[in-house]
Amino acid sequence: MLFYSYFKTLVGKQVTVELKNDLAITGTLHSVDQYLNIKLNNVHVVNEQKYPHMMSVRNCFIRGSVVRYVQLPPGSVDVELLHDATRREARG
């Protein structure tokens, strides 16, 4: 559950969520739960040609199990902290 804890620190930041169907959505991270379900606000779609209907979306709930990648804001990645936390998790 390292990712859950980490993603919680990104609430309010802009992230891009890429789904397994190739849809990529950028928005402000509103919330995340322990299943990595993700809620985004102020959404816009990166690949508009493939999903033209998503251009119009404001708030969006994405099922954790269909998320392929989450692109993080570079300034919010504390490599030291993550490194340490992953090591501890691996050990535990």
Partner: protein, 237 residues
């Protein structure tokens, strides 16, 4: 206009036709703990861009959504098959404000629970819209869908592990602890790692003057830990 429902197309949109009804109301699986969260009336169901199934009532339960547009016309979808849902208000995309949903493509009906979701990329993503006659219901509709979707994680998903509950607290995760005793152990280890003060060391050595006699021979064999301890000055006998 109660046309015969085009079931085959509904299935290709990730919906199961013919929900079980009793007096026009869906029969819930109470044995499995299914409960009605909220009913929304005057909701149109639209498959894809423009296949309007008419107006009906939407029942959101703790497990699925069920839309009932008449005694012979009802469709359901488990939350586990609703991959995302969103509020859509841009009229250039759809003429009315609505909930836009992307559904899990149904490979072989709904027996396909075990289907590899990575195959999704090669499939068309079914799109379904819920269009309330009163757009002010959208926020509430969206929120109830979020709340109930969160109750339905996929089996075997990360976070569904038995010990996951121990990880909820951020501090615990950062401490690498999955339960109280481990946290206590880590604290204990931490305290062991503290360097003794010089006075303490003298005291220890005084208790046992030959304590560090062979420290240099063993230093190489003990993972170097003795190197962390300053070599004591041998006290006067």
């Amino acid at each position: 206009m109660d046309m015969a429902a085009p079931d085959i197309s509904a299935e290709s949109f990730g919906l199961t036709p013919h929900a079980q009804l009793e007096a026009g109301t869906p029969v819930l699986d109470a044995d499995e703990g299914e409960e009605l969260a909220k009913r929304f009336d005057y909701i149109s169901l639209v498959l894809g861009d423009n296949l309007n199934m008419g107006q009906g009532s939407l029942y959101i339960t703790t497990r699925r959504i069920i839309w009932v547009g008449g005694t012979e016309k009802s469709y359901a979808a488990d939350f586990q098959h609703i991959n995302m849902h969103a509020i859509s208000t841009d009229q250039s995309a759809f003429q009315r404000p609505c909930i836009y949903m992307q559904m899990e493509p149904s490979t072989s009906g709904f027996a396909g629970d075990e289907a590899d979701t990575d195959d999704l990329e090669n499939e068309e993503t079914p799109e379904v819209r819920l269009v309330p006659s009163d757009a002010s219901a959208l926020e509430d509709l969206f929120q109830v869908l979020c709340d109930c979707a969160a109750l339905n994680p996929d089996p075997g998903q990360e976070g569904d592990d038995e010990d996951a509950e121990f990880f909820y607290d951020e501090e615990e995760v950062l401490a690498g602890a999955d339960d109280g005793s481990r946290a206590a152990m880590l604290d204990h280890y931490d305290s062991l790692l503290q360097m003794p003060r010089a006075d303490d060391l003298d005291e220890l050595v005084a208790e046992d003057p030959e304590r560090f006699d062979d420290a240099e021979e063993e230093a190489g064999e003990e993972d170097g830990h003795p190197n962390n301890v300053p070599h004591p000055t041998r006290p006067e006998q």
